[in-house]
């Protein structure tokens, strides 16, 4: 098992390097760069800017260097100095911006995942063990509605409901008095109050999908011969259900944890804009629009790393759950 994990770790390094290269390349793809779009914007408004200043800036940031040189400067800064470059738009170091937003993004995403699994798995199990019962049909109905409702709509509805009930629309992740305050118990409680709406909004579609997967998998497993074998040995129904088919049907779910993390990251942008969440989505969106390349590249790179790490976690969990994978890899 340790060997398996070590091997997976080593494979991660080249994967991440390739991803960083691609990320940087994609960010560079659109014609022009931040300064050209900045100048264009100023000129549109009737302003002019001394070409010499622009020239100096281009020089300073190496915008006219060949692609590979730019890439090398960027990646070596990250790897050796933890320096993600400079955000033109925000006049800040990218690492500062990322720092601020990243952990909130991770918190929201993790809560969303916990919500998704905590709701979908038990209901999926109930649906499969009570196939075609009223409860099953109800779960199916709400599952499809949840899947079909666009996030922004759900966000607006929940904001409205929250406003009617609590007099507070629960927009953002914190009440105004806590936004810039240091962490405290009060700030944490405040965040927990606010986090419910985004978690439900971002998690609903995933929950509905996962519920269908769990139900289908479990129905498949319940029909398998080994279930009858266990029953014929005298194993009680509850023990049997959890020990054999439920565990078996978790495998495909566990193996997609890595992807669902990406899904949550990229799927939550619109929600984050609507709900004014201080997560990466809106910043990333703006950075892409204004060609703020180091900021966009930095986020893209970190999200990619998180996805790779998520996949690694999936693989380790899967190997732990399924001996066929574990043994196969070691042999």
């Amino acid at each position: 098992m340790l060997q398996f994990i070590a091997k997976r770790f080593l494979i991660m390094i080249p994967t991440i390097l390739v991803i960083s290269f691609l990320a940087f390349w994609i960010i560079q793809l659109p014609p022009g760069d931040f300064l050209t779009s900045y100048v264009a914007q100023l000129e549109e408004m009737g302003d002019t800017i001394d070409p010499q200043v622009i020239e100096n800036l281009r020089e300073e940031y190496g915008l006219d260097d060949p692609f590979l040189v730019q890439y090398w400067k960027w990646i070596s800064g990250i790897v050796f100095r933890g320096d993600f470059g400079y955000s033109f738009e925000n006049n800040m170091r990218v690492s500062m911006l990322i720092n601020e937003r990243l952990y909130l993004t991770i918190i929201v995403s993790l809560f969303t995942m916990v919500f998704t699994y905590a709701v979908a798995i038990p209901i999926g199990i109930y649906s499969a063990t009570h196939q075609y019962s009223i409860g099953d049909y109800t779960a199916t109905f709400f599952g499809f509605v949840g899947m079909a409702t666009p996030n922004f709509l759900l966000a607006l509805v929940l904001m409205y409901v929250a406003f009617v009930w609590t007099g507070n629309s629960l927009v953002g992740l914190f009440s105004p008095e806590y936004i810039d305050a240091p962490w405290s118990w009060g700030k944490f409680v405040d965040m927990m109050k606010h986090i419910l709406v985004p978690v439900v909004v971002i998690g609903t579609a995933g929950t509905a999908g996962l519920l269908r997967v769990m139900r289908g998998q479990l129905l498949d497993e319940l029909r398998k011969q080994y279930v009858i074998t266990a029953r014929a040995k005298g194993v009680g129904e509850r023990t049997l259900l959890w020990k054999y088919p439920v565990r078996a049907s978790l495998n495909p779910i566990v193996s997609t944890i890595g992807w669902s993390l990406t899904g949550i990251f990229s799927g939550s942008t619109i929600t984050a804009i609507v709900l004014n969440l201080p997560t990466q989505g809106p910043v990333m969106y703006n950075a892409l629009k204004s060609q703020d390349m180091y900021l966009a590249g930095g986020f893209l790179f970190i999200l990619a790393i998180l996805t790779v790490v998520g996949t690694l976690i999936s693989d380790i969990l899967l190997a732990w759950l399924d001996p066929r994978i574990r043994v196969g890899k070691e042999a």
Binding site: Q225, Y226, R231, A232, G234, V235, Y244, A248, D322, P323
Partner: protein, 344 residues
């Protein structure tokens, strides 16, 4: 109840409700098993053998309803009627794996791939014999040795996918016998195995029967295997037993045309086969919306018009210990006349 009888089925029926109607998979089966002996249950695929065996442990799928009496006569205890127990009761769970255990056709899928053989083997022992894990393990290793697994102390911690089909079936047998059951139900235990492996597994079962003294209900569609394994045979067709006799009688003196057809379709050692082997025309229908009459009459060469296709056939003893369900025999016609006369 006679002490020699370990299990008796009386008019057992299993009816499935489906969207198309009621499937009478097992429709009035009666037989009794003698302590320490092997009863064969034979017939083509789809005639209700598996469902009969599932009924004995109340393992039929949820849309099936069991009726009739299934009397289990444990040594020195009052007989219990399994037919009257609840599917989820503690009583039936105590019987499963302990008094009656079962092995299945597919050694591939009969184990969960997620747990070691030891885990799945010890589960039975832990449930019925001892809560002590290390004692259970010792016993499990011993059982593996008995079924011919080399180096059992090491192999017990391996997973099912590390075993071959034949070896898996051996572990399955070890699991089934780990609590010394009175009855072992073997549902086509060798059908999925290669011929040479098949012979080894059958031999193992016979040895273990001498050792453990259990009765075996041996289900198969292969009459060659029946000749080797069984003391008595029930031939099943379309949910009913059509012939029941000691094994020599079945082979030397088959009465029911269905049994005769089955026998003609197997090659005989020492006999030159002239031309092709005969096979019975047609297939077993699904037992749904059946007309009255003998279920076999559409495929039967000896069908008597106006009788076989009109009346349900009773069984009668056509020779000592030899029962058949066919109007070709005067005893059966007599039983029929008596029944019809009684109704009028």
């Amino acid at each position: 109840m006679n002490d020699d009888v370990v299990l008796e089925l009386r008019d057992v029926k299993v009816h499935f409700s489906t969207d198309e109607g009621t499937v009478k998979a097992v429709d009035g089966v009666s037989f009794s098993m003698t302590r320490g002996k092997t009863m064969g249950l034979v017939g083509e695929s789809g005639c209700g053998k598996s469902v009969t065996s599932q009924a004995i442990l109340r393992l039929v799928p949820a849309n099936g309803k069991i009726s009739g009496a299934i009397l289990l006569n444990r040594d020195g205890q009052e007989p219990v009627d399994i037919g009257a127990l609840d599917n989820h009761s503690q009583d039936i769970r105590d019987i499963r794996g302990k008094d009656i255990s079962m092995i299945f056709q597919e050694p591939m899928t009969s184990f969960s791939p997620l747990y070691t053989m030891g885990n799945q083997l010890m589960e039975t022992i832990l449930l019925h014999q001892t809560p002590d894990k290390s004692a259970a393990r010792t016993q499990a290793v011993e059982m593996l040795r008995k079924v011919g697994i080399a180096d059992p102390a090491r192999r017990i911690d391996e997973y099912p996918h590390e075993f071959s089909g034949g070896m898996r079936q051996r572990v399955m047998i070890a699991m089934a016998l780990s609590c010394s059951p009175e009855i072992l139900i073997a549902d086509e235990p060798t059908t999925a195995l290669d011929v040479t492996i098949q012979a080894q597994v059958l031999e193992l079962m016979q040895e273990l029967q001498k050792d453990f003294g259990m009765s075996i209900l041996f289900i198969t569609h292969d009459l060659g295997v029946v000749a080797e394994m069984c003391d008595e045979v029930c031939v099943m067709y379309l949910g009913k037993i059509v012939e029941k006799a000691p094994v020599e009688e079945i082979f030397h003196n088959p009465r029911h045309p269905y049994t005769q057809g089955l026998l003609e379709s197997i090659p005989k050692i020492g006999h030159k086969t002239e031309g092709d082997l005969k096979s019975i025309e047609g297939v077993v229908p699904v037992p749904i919306n059946l007309k009255p009459g003998c279920g076999f009459c559409d495929r039967c060469e000896h069908k008597i018009e106006g009788l076989c296709d009109t009346y349900n056939v009773p069984t009668a003893e056509v020779a000592p210990g030899h029962w058949a369900r066919c109007f070709l025999y005067p005893e059966v016609v007599e039983a029929h006349n008596k029944a019809v006369g009684g109704e009028e």
